[in-house]
Amino acid sequence: MDFTPVISAAFSILGLSPLLVLSSIGILIANKSGVFNIGVQGNIAIGTTFGILGVSFFGSIWAGLALGFLAGLAVAIVSAYLTINKPYDQLQIGFGIWFVTEGLAGFIYFMSMNSAFRVEETFPSFNGLDIIFFSTIAITIVYYFVIHRTKYGLAVVAAGENPGAADVAGISVFRVRWICTLVGGSLLGLAGSWFSIIVLRHFFYNMVAGYGWLAILTVIFAGFAALPTFLSALFFSFLIGMQTRIQVYGFLPLPREIILVLPYIFGVILLIISGVLRKKKSAPAALGHPYERE
């Protein structure tokens, strides 16, 4: 068998992976502390918009990335207020945030930018693996160490598993959840802006359609743990990367539309299998439940 497509696929997948990896880690951080936001799709989309806006207004891709990061932070602030400070249902708020941010992503771009804009400069990269790619590895490692080796990480886990006990132990559940949501949301914004600035160099309408859902799926399937999340994100990036190759090389006799949703098909099947096999629920116990101080 000819291995060239697999090798080129491997590099293009790794090059594409920061989008899913950063998004998944961002979601994981927020989820670990017990906050669940189903509206992350819009957070990434806002990142894509502000990424390009940043490059266009400030002239440098670092500015674009920073603006995407800040945009994700802004969205996270709103969603944090609505889900942590207020005891609203996180699922419903999440959908509301999704509608608003996804709509705003397109709306703001087309209100501010009147011409198609292409990003000129880019990061130096090794076969498509640039500094952001290596940063995602670093971020995952840092996350792992913080969660498992520091007392701050312990606070996060406590807030997610049993906020009542954490509160009694003196941990400010609100503050922990706020910080995790903000960090997570900013990573999502960064992922989006990286994608539009570095990968696509251009704004396309709805360019990250579906990636937010895939990121949520990744985290759930990976059981809310650091390394499995990283690997699952790589796996789903692999599926995305293989889409055109499957078509051109004819690996699988599937219709094109089905190939496009292969990540979701795999995701559902794997979710079901892992749910069947896994006895203990791996999600943080308080995930999705607002914590109300009595």
Binding site: Y88, G96, I97, Y264, L271
Partner: protein, 354 residues
């Protein structure tokens, strides 16, 4: 005669609902939503008229005109409301049992496939095709949702994600059909041929599909509030342990409610084919499946108010489509609906007894 009109029975059922302070309290969020929309639109229009120079009143005018300004506008608005309404009823039934059926979009897609397939290919007289189309839409959609409900009941696999993801896959399958085997030959665009049996128009843009939607309201209300099954569903929805203490098989109830919920969403999909588009085109089922979520939440999962939230959202959609004529892209409608949704959730806390 009036007594045989479905509307008469709807009114009769509505009369049984007592109008008291609790009703007012649950109407409060809706009213505040309307105010929220008004304020949001004012702010947005001020910003837009400053940045693009379009007149402030032009924007208001195009919004209202698109939503109310002509018979066809109202007809189209009601048709969109119908789609949202049917899916909303489906979602309400699931939500009342404590299950989050977020696969409205996908179930609509399945319904569309079966409805169009029956209409195009069955060698039977047309009315029979329509009935089989809707019937099979209900059954297959319901089966899919029921299966996902079973996974939740048996293995505790969250139905939120399975329904959502399966929804995307089902839409992809719909796209496969319209691009491939059922695509209209010779046409550059992915669409099926016109499905025979598509409903005729009563008013511009309005087909008898709305009667199906209106009929579902009292059916859903009756099911949830007047039947033992509905009682069990609501009991399961309020807490699994409570229900099990009563000797109810919570799993069975969960699965049944998902079947009904998915089935109704499937009806919405077939309805979109027969009652609106007359064929499947790329882009169907569209946003209706997702907008049903705010529609259901905004009325606190009460089927007898679902019509109003559906119409409200539909007005917002039509208005924002009208705004495209003055240069605001249709994304704005999504932003509007999101804001309405969030504001309603926030206000719900005010209206509810604590």
């Amino acid at each position: 005669m009036a007594s045989f009109s479905p509307l008469f029975w709807v009114r009769k059922k509505l009369e049984n609902i007592h109008f008291n302070r609790d009703t007012l309290r649950s109407l409060l969020p809706a009213l505040i939503s309307v105010v929220a929309v008004f304020i949001t639109l004012c702010i947005a229009f001020v910003y837009i008229s400053i940045s693009t120079g379009t007149g402030f009143f032009d924007l208001w005018g195009s919004f209202y005109y698109a939503a109310f300004g002509s018979a066809s506008a109202i007809g189209r608005m009601l048709t969109k409301a119908t789609h949202i309404l049917i899916v909303t009823i489906g979602l309400i039934i699931a939500f009342k049992s404590g299950l989050f059926n977020l696969g409205g979009v996908g179930q609509m897609a399945v319904g569309a496939i079966l409805g169009a397939g029956a209409g195009l290919f069955l060698p039977l007289p047309i009315p029979l095709r329509v009935i089989i189309g809707f019937g099979s839409a209900f059954l297959v959609s319901g089966a899919i949702a029921g299966a996902l409900g079973w996974f939740k009941a048996r293995f505790n696999i969250d139905e939120i994600f399975t329904t959502l993801m399966v929804g995307f896959v089902l839409v992809a399958i719909l796209n496969y059909f319209i691009d491939g085997p059922w695509g209209q030959t010779g046409s550059a665009e992915a669409k099926t041929p016109v499905v025979p049996g598509s409903f005729p128009y009563m008013l511009p843009g309005l087909t008898p599909l709305i009667f199906l939607a209106l009929a579902l309201i009292p059916i859903a209300y009756y099911l949830l509030n007047r039947t033992p099954l509905g009682f069990e569903m609501r009991l399961v929805g309020s807490g699994k342990s409570v229900a099990q203490n009563q000797g109810i098989n919570a799993s069975k109830i969960a699965i049944i409610s998902m079947i009904i919920s998915g089935g109704i969403c499937g009806l919405a999909g077939a309805g979109q084919v027969y009652g609106d588009m007359t064929r499947i085109v790329v882009g169907m089922p569209g946003y209706f499946g997702f907008y049903a979520i705010p529609a259901a939440v905004m009325v606190n999962y009460k089927p007898h108010y679902a019509l109003f939230s559906s119409i409200f959202l539909s007005i917002l959609i039509m208005g924002s489509l009208g705004l495209t004529s003055v240069g605001i892209i249709s994304d704005f409608g999504e932003v509007l609906i999101g804001i309405v949704f969030i504001v309603t959730i926030a206000v719900n806390r005010l209206g509810r007894k604590k």
